[in-house]
């Protein structure tokens, strides 16, 4: 498949855009691969890409039960940031940020990464203190952070209600200037194309329905709706379906619950909001997409769910928070809302590890922040699969941290996954 370039754009435009080729082959499963990745979401595709690119492992298949981009990778609100406090998280997410910064060039695919800044609002002096601490921790880790006064915030986001008589008056905020958004579908498509060009088979409409094991209990492949496929190693990256897929291998309990998160988009508008803003006295995050729609969301619904749709209380909550922040948005119409199923881990941090069975590797626990992690998650998971050991960046993201006590509870919410 040809490189995308300004010349290919012009050549195709002059010929009526009729000569574009599909971005990846519709592969049919071979009887065996060195590595099988279960789940063709952002993380599974990125893993296949980095296996090929960084480790020269190209005899790889990505098995996706639906179509590429149909899961959370195509349902999220596209916010990318690395403003974490705990060292394990801040180093991992900052590595992801660095990969994002070169991703469009690396993939030869425009993922529309836009570093428009992510601003967290503070609504009390105590919250300003907490943000000062977080900002200092970030800067010590080499990550950009700027504490903003109320006046800075008012200049940065002109439509925001910063008046003293607001229900939760804005005191200031913490800005990560390098944060921003990326085009979610493009990320899935770009990694799929990049992996395919290096020889990876991307096999859609292929659901894993069982695992093959040898006499010692080692995983030796998978059973799928398109037949049995052998593998030297099997990596599982199925986000909200993690418990379901691992139960096929006899693992009945994991430190994970599946919860529904909703998102919303308004009718398309002229440019209105040129950054990402999050409310600090409740939970709301908003940005404007390149198509013009305001894209926003809030809390998860808060109960276990596989429904891929939520309930009205969150719609009401999100709408009222939006109008608290931006009273002038009250006349906009909502275009669409939808839901995705989150793999909420018990401490709110991810799992990228060898095991839990011999021959198996697990990538999960993304909660509702896994889109920004996509490049580093794939990069670290590929390393872990290729070398049978974690990289320093994901060494803390084990499964057994819940038993050893080394949990990574960024929010300090305890083992209550619907509060992370």
């Amino acid at each position: 498949m040809a490189e995308y370039s300004v010349f290919s754009l012009i050549a195709n435009a002059l010929t009526g855009n009729r000569s574009w080729k599909p971005a990846w082959r519709a592969a049919t499963p071979k009887p065996r691969y060195d590595v099988i990745i279960v789940g063709g979401g952002g993380h599974g595709l990125a893993t296949a890409y980095y296996l090929a690119k960084e480790h020269g492992i190209t005899d790889v298949a990505v098995l996706e039960k639906g179509y590429v981009g149909g899961g959370n990778v195509g349902r999220n609100t596209t916010i990318v940031r690395s403003n974490y406090l705990l060292p394990a998280n801040s180093h991992f997410y900052e590595w992801s940020m660095k990969l994002w910064e070169g991703l469009s060039h690396d993939l030869n695919y425009n993922v529309m990464f836009s570093q428009r800044g992510v601003l967290n609002l503070a609504h009390s002096p105590a919250q300003m203190d907490a943000y000062a601490r977080r900002g200092n921790a970030m800067r010590l880790a080499g990550i950009d952070a700027e504490l903003m006064t109320r006046e800075d915030v008012a200049r940065f986001v002109p439509d925001l209600d910063v008046s003293p008589d607001a229900r939760f008056p804005v005191h200031g905020g913490l800005l990560q200037p390098r944060g921003g958004t990326a085009r979610h579908d493009a990320v899935a498509w770009g990694f799929a194309r990049g992996a395919d060009r290096r020889g990876v088979d991307i096999i859609e409409n292929c659901e894993v329905i069982g695992f093959l094991r040898d006499g010692t209990g080692r995983i030796t492949g998978v059973e799928t709706t398109r037949g049995e496929i052998g593998a030297g190693k099997v990596g599982v990256a199925v986000a909200g379906s993690t418990s379901q897929v691992l139960s096929l291998a006899g693992i009945q309990h994991l430190p994970i619950e599946s919860h529904v998160l909703q998102a919303f988009v308004s009718e398309p508008l002229k440019p209105l909001l040129d950054t990402v803003v999050t409310f600090g006295a409740g939970h709301l995050y908003i940005s404007q997409s390149d198509k013009g729609g305001l894209v926003f969301g809030g809390d998860i619904d808060g109960y276990n769910s596989y429904a891929q749709r939520g309930n009205l209380p969150i719609v009401e909550d999100v709408a009222s928070l939006l109008l608290t922040m931006f009273p002038s948005y009250g006349r906009l119409r909502l275009l669409r809302s939808w839901g995705g199923i989150m793999d909420m881990s018990m401490d709110g941090s991810p799992i990228i590890t060898t095991g839990p069975l011999p021959g198996m590797y697990l990538n999960s626990g993304w909660c509702y922040g896994g889109f920004k992690a996509t490049p580093a998650s794939g990069w670290c998971f590929a390393w872990t699969i290729a070398r049978d050991a974690p990289h320093d960046l994901n060494a803390a993201f084990t499964l057994d941290r819940f038993h050893s006590g080394a949990v990574i509870d960024e929010r300090g919410a305890g083992p209550v996954p619907w509060h992370h």
Partner: protein
Amino acid sequence: MRITCPVCGERSVAEFAYEGDATLPRPALDASAEDWCVAVYERENPRGPHAEYWQHAQGCRSWLKVERDTLTHAILGVTLLGRFSGRTGE
């Protein structure tokens, strides 16, 4: 989603607080650390019927055990917990 509280009747889910998985027996206070780890962290996380605790936090404040389908959100049954359960439950 609407939940029928045995005391108050059918109400919007907005009145209820979710309190988690009700399938796990609480270990004895002197149980091993491993037993406690399992109870605190390990979940079956089923796709289908699930037993869970809810509290009618904005109503009568009763604790309830609710059977609910996590795939369809259908409420399959509600039982009152605690000292009043014998009077109005089931």
